[in-house]
Structures are given as structure tokens and as C-alpha cells.
Symmetry: C2
Subunit: 210 residues, 2 copies
DNA sequence: GACTTTTAGTGAACGCGTTTACTAAATTAT
DNA sequence: ATAATTTAGTAAACGCGTTCACTAAAAGTC
């Protein structure tokens, strides 16, 4: 028995249209954005978002699987800023210095926004329901980092970087930078030394050693 | 008016002796350790610890300023294991390979214990009262990492590492390794590539570039 | 003994993220 | 109309970390 797909007669109350659902999602995300901007990460709570969006806390869970998945949309905007900064850097530097400049730009971005860094990286993105995807899968981050990959390829062509898989070199670079940002931001009490020094020394060592 | 220091007559109920307080602390830490071992980080709650230590949740806050400061004692033991592993590595490798071997040992340690890594690094250590010190200040971690610093100095003497401030080079190494551990453990869904590759490539690049 | 001061420890509460049981609404089938 | 079915949305609850107001206990002072 094959039902007619043009009018799948279903019993029961119909679900809200995709547009309606998207509107609700956006209203909630806007509420969250306001709170996030006004009171920082710890000022955002599901109850406050619900109050600002004029619904019950439980209603949020009809549209988002949890607080983190809700806030991911805000963090997506932050990543977009980062990518834009990298793109600008790629467009305004000499090829020979480009990769190093982009790495320093990347680090300066997070070091100048430690609260955003903490909010994004210090809480894990674990999709609890199997139909929800990871942030990195759904946010276009990987596509955005193409600009960094291109800088790696260009650096290889110029002999700044050794030969080998550019993806591998990009991963190593991103790990190294993640470590600098992480240590300087979340363990500032450890005697790492001058942040400017550790930043430059790490980037230079990675580029020289790759 | 100078009071007699040998018998400073103080009104009011005397505080518990240091030994008594230490005993209570240990009883509580043992309860926490049991829960941590049996149910993992998320299985530990102040209420459960209190129930197992046979006191009220609020009583815990008389001896520890918070959950994190309570659990730091358990994490101190984990760090001791790490330091012991590094020491063993330093004692059993050829000087020329020692630094690289120790870095890989460091990384393997955390990569084989992702839950411990998350518990320790993904929650920030912010002393909320000014008389409480940071974990890194009070746990002997910095002293423990002397073994890594010595390996850096030895590597410099052997020409494996360039000249320059060994503390600076140690910081860069630790940042790089932190980034690898962080990315592989907390963002496993990103296409970093083979963990073994990224581990070795990062350590080699850092040592070659320093 | 009565009073004051200091500490130990508790019970109740706050706000949190999240889940559950439920009611109301909107549709088709009879 | 009535019943059945499906969805939207909520009120109440759970366990969490933490705080606060309070009581009980133990000491010195009068």
C-alpha cells in the first residue's frame, strides 16, 4: 500500500510549518544573544531565555536539544568573525609572511576574547540525540578554515613550509595554536612567560619545524 | 597591650585541631575518590559525597570552598602519576631521543585518560576566596615538571634543541602538547587525521623548530 | 551559675539544566 | 457530532552546586 505523497492524509494536529518553527527559533536565539551580550555566558540561563522569549523553559527543549545547541548559533557568529579576520589577513599580507601572520591573527582573536573562548571550548559539544549533528559538522567551520589551508599550500609552494600533506600540517598548526590559547586563557596563573613571546615562539617553531 | 602568645586566651568555642580538620578532609576526599572511581566525574556530586562521608552537603563547604577545590586532591594524584611516568621515561631513554619520548609519553598519558583530562582541564580553577590558592601553586606541579625542564636543557646541550631560554622552550612544548590533547580529546569529530600522526608530527615539528 | 563570644554543623532555600506527566488544540475518521 | 490521533506548550518535579539563617556546643568572663 503506497500512500499519496502529494497529500499524505495524517490524523492528528499538524506540526507547525517550518517557517513558524524557524521564527520561534530565531526569537529564542535573539533572546539568548541579548542575554549573552548583556550578562556574559554565566548570565544566560534557560529560564531567563524563556522569560525573555515569553515561553516556558520546557518549550525551549521542543526547538533545541539543550542549552549548548541553542548557544551554538551565537558561537557560529563568533567563528564567522574569526574567519573574516583570517580572510582579511590573507588579503593584506605578503605571501612569504602570510601563514605566520594568519596564525598570529588567529591567536590574537581568541586571546582578546577569553570569555568567548571559554564559552566555546571549555564545554564539550556532545550531541545527545543521534539526529543532532556536531557544531563542526553543521556550522561551516571546516569550509571557513579553507582560507588557512590555502595559506599552508601557498607556504609550501614558497618553501616556507616543508613538503607533505597540507591537511596534516594544518592540523598540527591548529593544535599548536589551540594549546597556546588554552593555556594562556584558562591557566593564566602558570608561569608561561610573556604571552607575546609564547605566541610568537610557538608559531615560529611550528612553521620552522613543519 | 600585648597578649601572652604562649596562651592566647580567646573567648568562644575553639576551632577543631588541625589534625581533626585534616582527618575530616581526608574522610571527605576518600568518599569523593570512591565516587569518582565508581561513577566518573558526572557521578560525583556534593550531595553524594556528603551522604557517603555522613555529613550534610553544607558541611563540605566548611572544609573546601567548592566542588572543584575538593576534587583537586584527586587530580593531584593523577598528576603525580603523570610525573612518575615522565621520570621513568627520562631514566630509560637515550639522551638524544629523551625529549621526544617524554613528550609522546605526556601525550599518551592524557589521550589514554580522556575523562581525567576533561575533568581537570575543561573546568577552570578560579579561586573564589582570596586566601585559597590556585591548583598549580599548591600541588607541586611546577616542581614535578622540572624533569621536563631538565630534558629540555639536556636536549639543548646535545644540539637537539636550539639555544635560548629553556623555560621559554618548555612553555612552547607544553602549549603544543596541550593543544594536541585538547583537540583530539574534546573535538574528536573534527577531521584532525590519524591521532598517532598528529601527535608525532606536532612533537617533531616543535622540537625541530625550537 | 549567668553571660558573651566563637565555632561546628544543619535544614531550608535559591537558581540552575533538564525531564516528565499532563492539558489544550488541531486535524482526520467514523 | 463524536471519537481518535497527533502536536504544542506548560506546570511541576528532579538532582545539581551553593548560600544563608539558624541551633548547638564549647570556651572565657563576670
Amino acid at each position: 500500500m503506497i500512500s499519496n505523497p502529494s497529500k499524505p492524509t495524517r490524523r492528528g494536529r499538524p506540526p507547525r510549518s517550518q517557517k513558524q518553527a524557524a521564527d520561534s527559533r530565531e526569537r529564542i536565539i535573539n533572546a539568548a544573544r541579548t542575554l549573552f551580550a548583556e550578562e556574559g555566558y554565566h548570565g544566560v540561563s534557560m529560564r531567563k531565555i524563556a522569560a525573555l522569549a515569553d515561553c516556558s523553559p520546557a518549550a525551549l527543549y521542543k526547538l533545541f536539544p539543550g542549552k549548548r545547541q541553542l548557544l551554538l548559533h551565537i558561537w557560529g557568529e563568533i567563528f564567522a568573525e574569526l574567519i573574516a579576520g583570517l580572510q582579511h589577513c590573507a588579503d593584506s599580507t605578503e605571501p612569504a609572511d602570510r601563514l605566520e601572520a594568519m596564525c598570529l591573527t588567529y591567536l590574537d582573536f581568541w586571546l582578546s576574547r577569553p570569555d568567548d573562548y571559554r564559552a566555546i571550548f571549555l564545554i564539550e559539544d556532545q550531541p545527545q540525540s543521534e539526529d543532532e549533528s556536531y557544531f563542526v559538522d553543521s556550522s561551516g567551520i571546516q569550509e571557513g578554515f579553507q582560507v588557512l589551508r590555502q595559506a599552508v599550500v601557498d607556504a609550501q609552494a614558497l618553501g616556507v613550509l616543508g613538503d607533505g600533506d597540507p591537511d596534516e600540517k594544518q592540523s598540527v598548526l591548529m593544535c599548536g595554536m589551540q594549546g597556546v590559547a588554552m593555556n594562556l586563557i584558562t591557566i593564566p596563573e602558570y608561569p608561561w612567560g610573556d604571552p607575546e613571546m609564547i605566541k610568537r615562539a610557538t608559531v615560529r617553531a611550528l612553521i620552522a619545524g613543519l
